[in-house]
């Protein structure tokens, strides 16, 4: 189970780049999870390109790690590099008309806030313990991989309501998984 809020991502980066290999590895892992989800959600890459791009961005982060300033938000730093590498990738493959949002750091880091690793059967069982609304939107967006907008329409909720419900539900789930594994 990994539940890494952005605040500790800053710590992992700071401690890691000061020479702590384990913290640095954890930082890169967390970034990889977020990039993967971001590329998939954004739909501007094919599935097979996705992992290559994740690796390319990780390599760029590593090569340019001297440019990290612990006083600046690590999220903006990572997004700056990811966006540059993505634009570079699209220029190389000559795919025209792909728009990368200029300021998407929030998008890159928002929903990745809570990531849960548990086996599927456990997850389904724990999901039953959530309030009805949270369970429904999590099932639609996180398991059936549908968009937030679709989920909002189907559940007759606003999109931000869906996002909040997912976030709260995942937090609760993450606590349940933790308690379960103790």
């Amino acid at each position: 189970l990994v539940g890494t809020p952005s605040a500790s991502l800053q710590q992992l980066a700071t401690v890691g780049l000061a020479g702590d290999g384990r913290a640095y590895a954890a930082f890169l892992e967390a970034i990889a999870v977020r990039l993967r989800a971001y590329f998939r959600r954004r739909l501007f890459v094919r599935a097979d390109e996705g992992e290559d791009l994740v690796q390319e961005v990780l390599l760029a982060i590593h090569e340019k790690r001297a440019t990290f300033d612990a006083r600046q938000p690590v999220t903006a730093w990572v997004f700056g590099i990811a966006r540059y590498k993505l634009a570079d990738h699209f220029r190389r493959v000559r795919r025209i008309g792909v728009q990368i949002p200029v300021n998407d750091a929030d998008e890159l880091f928002a929903e990745g806030d809570v990531e849960i690793h548990a086996n599927e059967a456990d997850l389904m069982r724990l999901l039953e313990q959530l309030p009805d609304k949270q369970r429904r939107v999590i099932r639609m967006v996180k398991i059936e991989d549908r968009s937030v907008r679709e989920a909002a329409q189907e559940a007759s909720l606003s999109e931000s309501d869906v996002k909040v419900s997912i976030h709260r539900g995942l937090k609760t789930l993450s606590k349940l998984v933790k308690r379960d594994s103790l």
Binding site: G16, L17, A18, G19, D20, G21, R22, A23, Y24, A25, L28, E29, A32, E51, V54, Q55, L58, L59, A60, H62, K64, R65, A66, T67, F68, D69, Q72, P73, T75, A76, W77, V78, F79, G80, I81, R83, Y84, D88, A105
Partner: protein
């Protein structure tokens, strides 16, 4: 095909960045660029003969240039760091240039109309618009090398910042030789000469700063 987890394991073997801190490197380069500019201008043009009487003018010209240079240093440093905004640095730079141009205009207006052209041009073609960019070129190249080691993500903006830094340091050095002493001249042509370096840097940046 290498697994991402394996890649991360390999990368994590060297967590600490190598080499000296980037900001210290840029600061050192800026010092070298200033020294190079002074030596070059003293060798090629020589110190102005009336330096003893006119040193306050030299100091004023160098001061204006170094103020723009400090903002250029700040902007270049930020341009090399992904996710750092350049809005404040750019705004301060533009603000200072506008103030300087306003001072030049007021200096020109306060002169009698028959002498206005004379105080604005120094009675000749403003040589600094050519000498300052030429003097700045090698320093600009050095700042570009620094930027390539850093991680500029908006290339033309990074090039503009490095060009502005190199131009400002060259202008500070040129002040040692520059013979024209009117506010209308200095506050007009010094910022314009540096702005030429900014424009050249922006063009060169989008061509040479890719990584």
């Amino acid at each position: 095909v290498i697994e991402t987890s394996e890649l991360i394991r390999n990368l994590a073997a060297n967590p600490r960045p190598r080499g000296p801190a980037l900001s210290a490197g840029l600061l050192g380069l800026a010092g070298l660029a200033l020294a190079y500019g002074a030596v070059a201008i003293l060798t090629l043009r020589g110190l102005r003969p009336d330096f003893a009487e006119a040193w306050t003018w030299v100091a004023g010209k160098a001061g204006l240039s170094l103020a723009l240079g400090a903002l250029g240093l700040w902007a270049t440093l930020r341009a090399g760091r992904p996710g750092s905004s350049l809005v404040a640095a750019t705004g301060a730079w533009v603000g200072l240039v506008v103030l300087s141009l306003a001072a030049a205009a007021s200096g020109a207006m306060s002169a009698p109309s028959s002498e206005r052209l004379q105080v604005m041009t120094g009675g000749d073609f403003p040589h600094c618009t050519v000498i300052i960019p030429a003097l700045a070129a090698p320093a600009g190249a050095a700042f570009f090398l620094w930027l390539r080691r850093a991680a500029p993500t908006r290339l033309w903006l990074a090039g503009a910042a490095a060009g502005g830094l190199a131009g400002a340091l060259a202008a500070a050095a040129y002040a040692l030789a520059c013979p024209v002493d009117t506010v209308a001249f200095v506050a007009l042509w010094y910022p314009l000469s540096i702005a030429i370096c900014v424009a050249l840097g922006a063009v060169a940046g989008s061509a040479f700063l890719r990584w």
